[in-house]
Subunit: 231 residues, 2 copies
Protein backbone atom coordinates (compact mmCIF):
# COMPACT_ATOMS: atom_id res chain seq x y z
CA UNK A 1 0.00 0.00 0.00
CA UNK A 2 2.88 2.34 0.66
CA UNK A 3 4.44 1.29 -2.58
CA UNK A 4 3.10 3.92 -4.94
CA UNK A 5 3.65 7.49 -3.81
CA UNK A 6 0.94 10.09 -4.24
CA UNK A 7 0.83 10.82 -7.93
CA UNK A 8 0.89 14.60 -8.29
CA UNK A 9 -1.10 14.41 -11.51
CA UNK A 10 -3.91 11.95 -10.94
CA UNK A 11 -7.54 11.49 -9.95
CA UNK A 12 -9.46 12.86 -12.91
CA UNK A 13 -12.56 10.87 -11.99
CA UNK A 14 -13.04 12.54 -8.62
CA UNK A 15 -16.51 11.82 -7.38
CA UNK A 16 -19.05 14.26 -6.01
CA UNK A 17 -17.83 15.71 -2.76
CA UNK A 18 -14.10 15.61 -3.48
CA UNK A 19 -14.60 17.30 -6.81
CA UNK A 20 -16.63 20.11 -5.30
CA UNK A 21 -14.10 20.63 -2.53
CA UNK A 22 -11.38 20.98 -5.11
CA UNK A 23 -13.35 23.25 -7.38
CA UNK A 24 -14.46 25.61 -4.63
CA UNK A 25 -11.00 25.76 -3.12
CA UNK A 26 -9.53 26.53 -6.50
CA UNK A 27 -12.13 29.24 -7.10
CA UNK A 28 -11.34 30.82 -3.76
CA UNK A 29 -7.58 30.91 -4.10
CA UNK A 30 -7.92 32.11 -7.69
CA UNK A 31 -9.95 35.04 -6.46
CA UNK A 32 -13.02 34.01 -8.42
CA UNK A 33 -14.91 33.89 -5.15
CA UNK A 34 -14.06 37.08 -3.33
CA UNK A 35 -13.84 37.37 0.47
CA UNK A 36 -17.16 37.61 2.26
CA UNK A 37 -18.99 36.33 -0.78
CA UNK A 38 -21.89 34.13 0.16
CA UNK A 39 -21.71 30.52 -0.90
CA UNK A 40 -25.30 29.38 -1.29
CA UNK A 41 -25.59 25.62 -1.38
CA UNK A 42 -28.20 25.53 -4.12
CA UNK A 43 -26.16 27.83 -6.37
CA UNK A 44 -22.97 25.83 -6.01
CA UNK A 45 -25.00 22.68 -6.50
CA UNK A 46 -26.22 23.85 -9.87
CA UNK A 47 -22.91 25.39 -10.90
CA UNK A 48 -20.90 22.25 -10.29
CA UNK A 49 -23.58 19.77 -11.19
CA UNK A 50 -23.45 18.00 -7.86
CA UNK A 51 -26.15 17.29 -5.35
CA UNK A 52 -26.70 19.72 -2.54
CA UNK A 53 -25.51 17.03 -0.18
CA UNK A 54 -22.10 16.93 -1.81
CA UNK A 55 -21.87 20.70 -1.73
CA UNK A 56 -22.78 20.62 1.92
CA UNK A 57 -20.06 18.12 2.74
CA UNK A 58 -17.58 20.13 0.73
CA UNK A 59 -18.39 23.31 2.63
CA UNK A 60 -18.03 21.45 5.91
CA UNK A 61 -14.61 20.27 4.88
CA UNK A 62 -13.49 23.66 3.61
CA UNK A 63 -14.68 25.17 6.84
CA UNK A 64 -12.33 22.78 8.61
CA UNK A 65 -9.53 24.05 6.41
CA UNK A 66 -10.35 27.60 7.41
CA UNK A 67 -11.17 28.75 3.90
CA UNK A 68 -14.87 29.33 4.42
CA UNK A 69 -16.81 30.46 7.44
CA UNK A 70 -20.09 28.88 8.43
CA UNK A 71 -22.70 29.98 10.91
CA UNK A 72 -25.80 28.06 11.87
CA UNK A 73 -28.74 28.62 9.59
CA UNK A 74 -26.94 31.49 7.99
CA UNK A 75 -24.88 29.71 5.43
CA UNK A 76 -21.28 29.82 4.38
CA UNK A 77 -19.17 32.63 3.03
CA UNK A 78 -15.61 32.99 1.86
CA UNK A 79 -13.52 33.87 4.86
CA UNK A 80 -12.13 37.37 4.77
CA UNK A 81 -8.69 37.64 6.32
CA UNK A 82 -8.07 41.15 7.61
CA UNK A 83 -4.57 42.56 7.79
CA UNK A 84 -4.22 41.94 11.51
CA UNK A 85 -4.93 38.27 11.00
CA UNK A 86 -2.61 38.01 8.02
CA UNK A 87 0.11 39.29 10.32
CA UNK A 88 -0.79 36.69 12.92
CA UNK A 89 -0.75 33.94 10.34
CA UNK A 90 2.68 35.01 9.17
CA UNK A 91 3.95 35.13 12.73
CA UNK A 92 2.90 31.53 13.25
CA UNK A 93 4.41 30.60 9.91
CA UNK A 94 7.60 32.27 11.09
CA UNK A 95 8.10 30.00 14.06
CA UNK A 96 6.80 26.80 12.50
CA UNK A 97 8.74 27.21 9.30
CA UNK A 98 11.72 28.04 11.50
CA UNK A 99 11.27 24.66 13.15
CA UNK A 100 11.14 22.95 9.78
CA UNK A 101 14.31 24.71 8.67
CA UNK A 102 16.15 23.79 11.84
CA UNK A 103 15.23 20.15 11.40
CA UNK A 104 16.00 20.23 7.71
CA UNK A 105 19.49 21.61 8.30
CA UNK A 106 20.44 18.42 10.12
CA UNK A 107 19.03 16.07 7.52
CA UNK A 108 20.24 17.34 4.20
CA UNK A 109 21.61 15.03 1.55
CA UNK A 110 23.89 16.33 -1.16
CA UNK A 111 21.09 16.13 -3.68
CA UNK A 112 19.00 18.38 -1.45
CA UNK A 113 21.75 20.98 -1.30
CA UNK A 114 21.87 20.93 -5.06
CA UNK A 115 18.15 21.48 -5.37
CA UNK A 116 18.30 24.34 -2.89
CA UNK A 117 21.18 26.06 -4.64
CA UNK A 118 19.48 25.47 -7.99
CA UNK A 119 16.42 27.26 -6.70
CA UNK A 120 18.61 30.09 -5.44
CA UNK A 121 20.24 30.49 -8.84
CA UNK A 122 16.86 30.49 -10.56
CA UNK A 123 15.67 33.18 -8.18
CA UNK A 124 18.66 35.35 -8.97
CA UNK A 125 17.93 34.99 -12.66
CA UNK A 126 14.24 35.75 -12.27
CA UNK A 127 15.04 38.92 -10.37
CA UNK A 128 17.64 39.94 -12.93
CA UNK A 129 15.11 39.39 -15.69
CA UNK A 130 12.43 41.29 -13.82
CA UNK A 131 10.15 38.25 -13.88
CA UNK A 132 8.12 38.98 -10.77
CA UNK A 133 5.58 36.23 -11.26
CA UNK A 134 8.27 33.66 -11.89
CA UNK A 135 10.02 34.81 -8.75
CA UNK A 136 6.82 34.48 -6.76
CA UNK A 137 6.47 30.95 -8.04
CA UNK A 138 10.05 30.10 -7.09
CA UNK A 139 9.42 31.67 -3.71
CA UNK A 140 6.60 29.25 -3.06
CA UNK A 141 8.71 26.38 -4.30
CA UNK A 142 11.48 27.26 -1.87
CA UNK A 143 9.17 27.45 1.11
CA UNK A 144 7.54 24.18 0.09
CA UNK A 145 10.95 22.56 -0.18
CA UNK A 146 11.91 23.72 3.30
CA UNK A 147 8.65 22.26 4.58
CA UNK A 148 9.35 18.96 2.88
CA UNK A 149 13.00 18.69 3.90
CA UNK A 150 12.09 19.23 7.52
CA UNK A 151 10.42 15.83 7.53
CA UNK A 152 7.90 17.09 10.05
CA UNK A 153 4.47 16.04 8.81
CA UNK A 154 2.57 17.82 11.56
CA UNK A 155 4.35 21.11 10.99
CA UNK A 156 3.86 20.73 7.26
CA UNK A 157 0.15 20.19 7.82
CA UNK A 158 -0.16 23.28 9.96
CA UNK A 159 1.68 25.35 7.37
CA UNK A 160 -0.44 23.96 4.57
CA UNK A 161 -3.55 24.97 6.43
CA UNK A 162 -2.25 28.46 7.07
CA UNK A 163 -1.06 28.84 3.51
CA UNK A 164 -4.57 28.91 2.14
CA UNK A 165 -5.61 31.73 4.40
CA UNK A 166 -3.57 34.55 3.00
CA UNK A 167 -3.14 33.70 -0.65
CA UNK A 168 -4.44 37.12 -1.41
CA UNK A 169 -1.76 38.96 0.51
CA UNK A 170 0.96 36.61 -0.58
CA UNK A 171 0.26 37.00 -4.26
CA UNK A 172 0.44 40.76 -4.11
CA UNK A 173 3.60 40.78 -2.04
CA UNK A 174 5.88 39.88 -4.91
CA UNK A 175 4.45 42.67 -7.04
CA UNK A 176 5.23 45.33 -4.48
CA UNK A 177 7.88 47.64 -5.94
CA UNK A 178 11.26 47.02 -4.40
CA UNK A 179 10.08 43.99 -2.51
CA UNK A 180 12.11 41.43 -4.42
CA UNK A 181 15.29 43.41 -3.83
CA UNK A 182 14.85 42.86 -0.11
CA UNK A 183 13.51 39.35 -0.47
CA UNK A 184 16.19 37.80 -2.66
CA UNK A 185 19.17 38.10 -0.28
CA UNK A 186 17.03 36.77 2.56
CA UNK A 187 16.14 33.72 0.53
CA UNK A 188 19.75 33.17 -0.42
CA UNK A 189 20.72 33.42 3.23
CA UNK A 190 18.17 30.77 4.11
CA UNK A 191 19.62 28.49 1.47
CA UNK A 192 23.17 29.00 2.64
CA UNK A 193 22.27 28.47 6.29
CA UNK A 194 20.50 25.25 5.40
CA UNK A 195 23.38 23.96 3.32
CA UNK A 196 25.85 24.78 6.07
CA UNK A 197 23.96 22.35 8.28
CA UNK A 198 23.58 24.72 11.22
CA UNK A 199 20.04 24.43 12.61
CA UNK A 200 20.25 27.63 14.67
CA UNK A 201 21.38 29.64 11.68
CA UNK A 202 18.70 28.12 9.48
CA UNK A 203 15.97 28.92 11.96
CA UNK A 204 17.27 32.45 12.41
CA UNK A 205 17.40 33.01 8.66
CA UNK A 206 13.83 31.84 8.15
CA UNK A 207 12.62 33.95 11.03
CA UNK A 208 14.42 37.00 9.75
CA UNK A 209 12.90 36.56 6.33
CA UNK A 210 9.36 36.19 7.59
CA UNK A 211 9.83 39.09 9.95
CA UNK A 212 10.61 41.17 6.91
CA UNK A 213 7.51 39.80 5.17
CA UNK A 214 5.43 40.87 8.16
CA UNK A 215 6.89 44.34 7.99
CA UNK A 216 5.90 44.55 4.33
CA UNK A 217 2.34 43.33 4.80
CA UNK A 218 0.72 46.67 5.68
CA UNK A 219 1.89 48.11 2.39
CA UNK A 220 0.40 45.15 0.55
CA UNK A 221 -2.91 45.59 2.27
CA UNK A 222 -3.25 49.14 1.06
CA UNK A 223 -2.66 48.10 -2.52
CA UNK A 224 -5.50 47.89 -5.05
CA UNK A 225 -7.21 44.68 -6.01
CA UNK A 226 -5.25 42.85 -8.60
CA UNK A 227 -6.60 40.99 -11.60
CA UNK A 228 -5.01 37.68 -10.62
CA UNK A 229 -5.75 36.39 -14.09
CA UNK A 230 -2.25 35.09 -14.01
CA UNK A 231 -3.14 31.79 -12.50
Amino acid sequence: MTAAGPDPAAEPPADGTARVVDAVRRAIVAGEFVPDQRLVEADLSERFGAGRSSVRSALLQLSGEGLVERVQHRGARVRAVPLAEAVEVTEVRMVVEGLCAAKAATRLADADRERLRGLGAAMREAVAAGDLLGYSELNQRLHALVRALGGQATAAGVLERLRGQNVRHRFRLALLPGRVAASLPEHLEIIEALCSGDPRAAEAAVRGHLRSVIAALPAVDRGPDLPLDSL
Copy 2:
Protein backbone atom coordinates in the same frame (compact mmCIF):
# COMPACT_ATOMS: atom_id res chain seq x y z
CA MET B 1 -11.00 30.98 13.04
CA THR B 2 -13.85 28.63 12.70
CA ALA B 3 -15.99 28.08 15.74
CA ALA B 4 -15.21 24.72 17.28
CA GLY B 5 -13.55 26.11 20.36
CA PRO B 6 -14.68 23.98 23.29
CA ASP B 7 -16.24 26.66 25.44
CA PRO B 8 -16.15 25.27 28.95
CA ALA B 9 -19.47 26.81 29.93
CA ALA B 10 -21.95 27.46 27.16
CA GLU B 11 -24.73 26.32 24.82
CA PRO B 12 -27.08 24.07 26.77
CA PRO B 13 -29.69 23.62 24.01
CA ALA B 14 -27.35 22.42 21.28
CA ASP B 15 -29.28 21.08 18.35
CA GLY B 16 -28.58 18.04 16.24
CA THR B 17 -25.19 18.28 14.61
CA ALA B 18 -23.55 20.51 17.22
CA ARG B 19 -24.69 18.21 19.99
CA VAL B 20 -23.26 15.14 18.29
CA VAL B 21 -19.97 16.91 17.61
CA ASP B 22 -19.69 17.79 21.24
CA ALA B 23 -20.64 14.35 22.50
CA VAL B 24 -18.27 12.49 20.21
CA ARG B 25 -15.40 14.84 20.96
CA ARG B 26 -16.01 14.41 24.66
CA ALA B 27 -16.12 10.64 24.31
CA ILE B 28 -12.84 10.64 22.42
CA VAL B 29 -10.87 12.82 24.81
CA ALA B 30 -12.35 10.93 27.76
CA GLY B 31 -11.01 7.72 26.30
CA GLU B 32 -14.45 6.20 25.93
CA PHE B 33 -13.74 5.83 22.25
CA VAL B 34 -10.29 4.33 21.97
CA PRO B 35 -7.86 5.04 19.14
CA ASP B 36 -8.55 3.20 15.90
CA GLN B 37 -12.06 2.38 17.02
CA ARG B 38 -14.47 2.47 14.14
CA LEU B 39 -17.20 5.09 14.28
CA VAL B 40 -20.10 3.66 12.33
CA GLU B 41 -22.63 6.28 11.39
CA ALA B 42 -25.66 4.13 12.09
CA ASP B 43 -24.40 3.19 15.55
CA LEU B 44 -23.67 6.74 16.58
CA SER B 45 -26.99 7.77 15.11
CA GLU B 46 -28.85 5.41 17.40
CA ARG B 47 -26.65 6.06 20.41
CA PHE B 48 -27.13 9.82 20.32
CA GLY B 49 -30.66 9.84 18.98
CA ALA B 50 -29.80 11.95 15.97
CA GLY B 51 -30.32 11.35 12.29
CA ARG B 52 -27.53 9.78 10.36
CA SER B 53 -27.22 13.07 8.50
CA SER B 54 -26.31 14.92 11.68
CA VAL B 55 -23.81 12.24 12.61
CA ARG B 56 -22.30 12.53 9.20
CA SER B 57 -21.87 16.28 9.48
CA ALA B 58 -20.41 15.85 12.93
CA LEU B 59 -17.82 13.38 11.69
CA LEU B 60 -16.91 15.71 8.85
CA GLN B 61 -16.33 18.49 11.33
CA LEU B 62 -14.33 16.35 13.73
CA SER B 63 -12.25 15.17 10.82
CA GLY B 64 -11.41 18.81 10.20
CA GLU B 65 -10.29 19.10 13.79
CA GLY B 66 -8.02 16.12 13.35
CA LEU B 67 -9.75 13.99 15.95
CA VAL B 68 -11.15 11.39 13.59
CA GLU B 69 -9.85 10.00 10.35
CA ARG B 70 -12.04 9.38 7.36
CA VAL B 71 -11.41 7.49 4.19
CA GLN B 72 -13.75 7.27 1.23
CA HIS B 73 -16.30 4.54 1.48
CA ARG B 74 -14.48 3.09 4.44
CA GLY B 75 -15.89 5.16 7.24
CA ALA B 76 -14.43 7.04 10.14
CA ARG B 77 -12.30 5.92 13.04
CA VAL B 78 -10.76 7.59 16.05
CA ARG B 79 -7.39 8.89 15.00
CA ALA B 80 -4.54 7.02 16.61
CA VAL B 81 -1.57 9.23 17.34
CA PRO B 82 1.63 7.16 17.40
CA LEU B 83 4.56 8.23 19.51
CA ALA B 84 6.44 9.73 16.58
CA GLU B 85 3.53 11.99 15.82
CA ALA B 86 3.03 12.96 19.44
CA VAL B 87 6.63 14.11 19.38
CA GLU B 88 5.98 16.12 16.24
CA VAL B 89 2.90 17.70 17.74
CA THR B 90 4.84 18.70 20.81
CA GLU B 91 7.62 20.16 18.70
CA VAL B 92 5.14 22.38 16.93
CA ARG B 93 3.57 23.27 20.24
CA MET B 94 7.03 24.19 21.44
CA VAL B 95 7.62 26.88 18.84
CA VAL B 96 4.05 28.20 18.69
CA GLU B 97 3.64 28.37 22.43
CA GLY B 98 7.06 30.00 22.50
CA LEU B 99 5.67 32.66 20.20
CA CYS B 100 2.68 33.19 22.48
CA ALA B 101 4.95 33.50 25.49
CA ALA B 102 7.20 36.02 23.77
CA LYS B 103 4.24 38.16 22.84
CA ALA B 104 2.67 37.75 26.25
CA ALA B 105 5.81 38.94 28.00
CA THR B 106 5.45 42.35 26.39
CA ARG B 107 1.76 42.74 27.18
CA LEU B 108 1.38 41.79 30.80
CA ALA B 109 -0.70 43.81 33.19
CA ASP B 110 -0.12 43.61 36.93
CA ALA B 111 -3.25 41.52 37.35
CA ASP B 112 -1.84 39.00 34.86
CA ARG B 113 1.38 38.72 36.83
CA GLU B 114 -0.65 38.03 39.91
CA ARG B 115 -2.61 35.28 38.21
CA LEU B 116 0.57 33.71 36.92
CA ARG B 117 2.29 33.76 40.31
CA GLY B 118 -0.88 32.47 41.91
CA LEU B 119 -0.83 29.51 39.55
CA GLY B 120 2.82 28.95 40.38
CA ALA B 121 2.11 28.88 44.09
CA ALA B 122 -0.78 26.48 43.58
CA MET B 123 1.49 24.21 41.58
CA ARG B 124 4.07 24.19 44.34
CA GLU B 125 1.39 23.22 46.83
CA ALA B 126 -0.02 20.50 44.63
CA VAL B 127 3.41 18.95 44.22
CA ALA B 128 4.09 19.20 47.95
CA ALA B 129 0.78 17.49 48.63
CA GLY B 130 1.43 14.82 46.04
CA ASP B 131 -1.74 15.74 44.17
CA LEU B 132 -0.74 14.62 40.69
CA LEU B 133 -4.13 15.09 39.10
CA GLY B 134 -4.49 18.56 40.55
CA TYR B 135 -1.05 19.41 39.23
CA SER B 136 -1.98 18.17 35.79
CA GLU B 137 -5.04 20.39 35.86
CA LEU B 138 -2.96 23.41 36.92
CA ASN B 139 -0.51 22.56 34.20
CA GLN B 140 -3.21 22.84 31.56
CA ARG B 141 -4.44 26.06 33.13
CA LEU B 142 -0.96 27.58 32.91
CA HIS B 143 -0.52 26.67 29.27
CA ALA B 144 -4.00 27.98 28.50
CA LEU B 145 -3.17 31.22 30.26
CA VAL B 146 0.01 31.68 28.25
CA ARG B 147 -2.02 31.10 25.10
CA ALA B 148 -4.57 33.68 26.15
CA LEU B 149 -2.09 36.31 27.31
CA GLY B 150 -0.28 36.13 24.00
CA GLY B 151 -3.28 37.73 22.32
CA GLN B 152 -2.57 35.75 19.17
CA ALA B 153 -5.84 34.25 18.03
CA THR B 154 -4.31 32.33 15.15
CA ALA B 155 -1.62 30.76 17.30
CA ALA B 156 -4.20 29.95 19.95
CA GLY B 157 -6.34 28.25 17.32
CA VAL B 158 -3.44 26.14 16.09
CA LEU B 159 -2.58 25.10 19.63
CA GLU B 160 -6.20 24.30 20.41
CA ARG B 161 -6.31 22.05 17.40
CA LEU B 162 -3.10 20.30 18.35
CA ARG B 163 -4.17 19.96 21.96
CA GLY B 164 -6.90 17.50 21.12
CA GLN B 165 -4.51 15.20 19.34
CA ASN B 166 -2.42 13.97 22.20
CA VAL B 167 -4.69 14.07 25.20
CA ARG B 168 -3.77 10.50 25.81
CA HIS B 169 -0.08 11.13 26.15
CA ARG B 170 -0.56 14.35 28.06
CA PHE B 171 -2.76 12.81 30.70
CA ARG B 172 -0.32 10.09 31.48
CA LEU B 173 2.65 12.40 31.57
CA ALA B 174 1.79 13.85 34.96
CA LEU B 175 1.49 10.39 36.45
CA LEU B 176 4.97 9.39 35.41
CA PRO B 177 7.08 8.88 38.55
CA GLY B 178 9.48 11.74 39.07
CA ARG B 179 8.04 13.75 36.24
CA VAL B 180 6.58 16.53 38.35
CA ALA B 181 9.91 17.06 40.08
CA ALA B 182 11.39 18.04 36.72
CA SER B 183 8.29 19.83 35.51
CA LEU B 184 7.65 22.17 38.42
CA PRO B 185 10.86 24.25 38.24
CA GLU B 186 10.41 24.58 34.49
CA HIS B 187 6.93 25.94 34.97
CA LEU B 188 8.12 28.34 37.63
CA GLU B 189 10.86 29.53 35.30
CA ILE B 190 8.28 30.21 32.59
CA ILE B 191 6.26 32.26 35.03
CA GLU B 192 9.25 34.27 36.19
CA ALA B 193 10.45 34.91 32.66
CA LEU B 194 6.99 36.13 31.68
CA CYS B 195 6.71 38.40 34.69
CA SER B 196 10.12 39.87 34.02
CA GLY B 197 8.80 41.06 30.66
CA ASP B 198 11.66 39.65 28.61
CA PRO B 199 10.24 38.04 25.46
CA ARG B 200 13.44 36.17 24.62
CA ALA B 201 13.65 34.66 28.07
CA ALA B 202 9.97 33.73 28.04
CA GLU B 203 10.28 32.00 24.68
CA ALA B 204 13.41 30.17 25.80
CA ALA B 205 11.75 29.02 29.01
CA VAL B 206 8.72 27.64 27.18
CA ARG B 207 10.92 25.93 24.65
CA GLY B 208 13.08 24.38 27.33
CA HIS B 209 10.04 23.06 29.13
CA LEU B 210 8.50 21.49 26.07
CA ARG B 211 11.83 20.05 25.04
CA SER B 212 11.84 18.27 28.37
CA VAL B 213 8.30 17.08 27.74
CA ILE B 214 9.41 15.65 24.42
CA ALA B 215 12.24 13.83 26.10
CA ALA B 216 9.78 12.28 28.55
CA LEU B 217 7.27 11.17 25.92
CA PRO B 218 8.85 7.82 25.03
CA ALA B 219 8.56 6.70 28.64
CA VAL B 220 4.90 7.67 28.65
CA ASP B 221 4.24 5.72 25.52
CA ARG B 222 5.49 2.52 27.08
CA GLY B 223 3.18 2.94 30.05
CA PRO B 224 0.02 0.87 30.47
CA ASP B 225 -3.43 2.07 29.59
CA LEU B 226 -4.88 4.18 32.33
CA PRO B 227 -8.45 4.22 33.54
CA LEU B 228 -8.96 7.91 32.84
CA ASP B 229 -12.11 7.82 34.92
CA SER B 230 -10.83 11.00 36.46
CA LEU B 231 -12.45 13.30 33.98
